[in-house]
Symmetry: C2
Subunit: 192 residues, 2 copies
Amino acid sequence: MSPHFHPVDLKKAYRLLNHGPTVLVSASHAGVDNVMAAAWACALDFDPPKVTVVIDKITRTRALVENSGWMVLQVPNAGQLQLTHQVGSHSLAEQPDKLDQAGVELFRVDGYPAPLVAGCSAWLMCRVIDEPHNQTTYDLFIAEVVGAWADERVFVEGHWVFEKADPALRSLHYVAGGHFYAIGEALDVEQS
Amino acid sequence: MSPHFHPVDLKKAYRLLNHGPTVLVSASHAGVDNVMAAAWACALDFDPPKVTVVIDKITRTRALVENSGWMVLQVPNAGQLQLTHQVGSHSLAEQPDKLDQAGVELFRVDGYPAPLVAGCSAWLMCRVIDEPHNQTTYDLFIAEVVGAWADERVFVEGHWVFEKADPALRSLHYVAGGHFYAIGEALDVEQS
């Protein structure tokens, strides 16, 4: 585990997703670990923090999430561009060594069942809230965030500091066809 | 209506939200128009395109969305930073001239009931799919996108071109406390 891996107050966990980054979804069940990329993840509530994420039925990760009831949503960064795209474009079903090929290193936090991806900028440990209609009809999963961490070099005392941190730690924002944007310039409102 | 307001193929409409921008939600019912900001909006499906958005019960906009069954999700830009924050921090209930105060100019597109906010970078006309459990329990709305448009200076033939366009047209990504980021540098994966 990186020395920069620091806990985030659950009341501020929504801020890790608020700016709309693409995430990696990791899960584990019956000895199988997997990781996929998901652009369609979103905060849903502040306290307790909740999230939504869309996970297609064709993904191998979905079965792991459904069977274990747990997943991690983590915020990959510019330094993980290739990794993010690789886990988003290959399935464990056709590439059994997918995680090795993509250079994914997993780690665990005591007390939580789902694996985390090393090198990300933030992590949300999520317990799935069973919503069969949403899952079946829309591939939409709702989960409660029960643990949150961030790389303290880019998320400091409840605030992203992309403008001051190593550019490799900027979040990724996927569009399509291998085309991403990194998060950019800080813009602060004039408070009246 | 701006000469740069151009239709977007519905099959590519998901790209307007894929990178996670903060949106403005506009709606109208019984002669009342309103606009609010929402950071928790997300694509949900490709074809037909669907979206999710979280709209708190305390907002005036929510009643307009529920009563009319229509809303527009639009992507405001760096040139609308103050406007976006103002419509996100004031309610029509306490400030009846909220839209004027924030400098919001609305326009309509023939055949669609919900009003659009001028000056944004993209617009998604959405028909609400009635999901009472999600709306009541999570403040979560699901809608189908039935019309999409973008400013052709920043979304060209199905692709965002933030890196080439006027920086004032960059999307906004809200964190908290009046602190936003603009979308940043384009990062393209090396295709193997």
